[in-house]
């Protein structure tokens, strides 16, 4: 079960990225544009735009291994979620709403630095989802930059 602190973080984070690997242990990176945690407290749904699909489903169906880093910009608070692929489906209207909320939050965070001239580029940076992928989260790690990075939060370290 993911602790409440991390559940609340998932709701306010605004940047994410996923990683898989193929049968030859070659890693692949995937842009993601949204995420949400199911009420069961351990199923993380990641939303993947068309641009992030290369190698994704082939890798997941081959070995099921997936890692997801989610970050809150500009604070740089970040966590990595590792788990197993469960299923995927085409993105639906509620997924698009999640991405829209993340896009607006990201733009609010970056605009003071980038300026209003960057609005079209920032809007395009968080793309609309094509796929929703469910992941059974088994481990959570701190990834906020600094000496504490890498500490495992879930399951708790003995």
């Amino acid at each position: 079960m993911i602790p409440g602190k991390i559940v609340r973080f998932i709701d306010r984070a605004n940047v994410g990225h996923a990683g898989t690997r193929d049968r030859n242990l070659v890693p692949h990176g995937h842009t993601i544009c949204g995420w949400t945690l199911a009420p069961d407290g351990h199923t993380l749904t990641i939303l993947v735009p068309e641009i992030g699909r290369a190698h994704l489903i082939e890798s997941l169906e081959d070995n099921g291994q997936v890692a997801v880093t989610i970050e809150q910009y500009p604070e740089h608070e970040a966590y990595q979620f590792k788990g197993r692929y469960l299923r995927h489906r085409p993105a639906a209207a509620p997924d698009i709403e999640i991405t829209q909320r993340i896009r607006e939050d990201f733009m609010r965070s970056v605009l003071p630095i980038a300026g209003e001239v960057a609005i079209p580029a920032l809007r395009a940076f968080v793309q609309s989802p094509a796929l929703a992928v469910d992941v059974d989260v088994q481990e959570v790690y701190v990834q906020t930059p600094g000496p504490g990075a890498g500490a495992r939060l879930v399951p708790g370290e003995a």
């Binding site: 990225h17 690997r21 242990l25 692949h28 990176g29 842009t31 590792k82």
Partner: protein, 137 residues
Amino acid sequence: MAARLPKEIRPVLDNGIPALMVTCSADGVPNTTVISQVYHVDDTHVALSFQFFSKTIRNIRENPRAHVTVNDIPGLAKWLLELEFERSETAGPVFDAMDMQIEAIASMTGMTGIFKLRAADIYRVISVEKQPYPAHA
């Protein structure tokens, strides 16, 4: 076999926008992380900073393959790099230049004293691909 980095990627590598890196352990578990710097070494090599004894570093010593996504937000594109680790340098011109850039990035992002370069890890570029953002996000 190495791919050549196109000239147009040079300013993207210097844009200060964090990049995303994926590695994989010998037992097949992927790992994702945010990296602050991708340094252009020559037309077929880049260097990544080794700052902490992280899972990324352990993975690379077990399995040398890496995937890095570099964001060109103003240019409306991402660059995808497939890399293979070659060697680690703890002195010399690449290390010194990266160390100076890390200090600057740390200062700009409020991370002074947290970022410290231990080594410049040199990677061969296996492939490089530019992915423009779709016209309608």
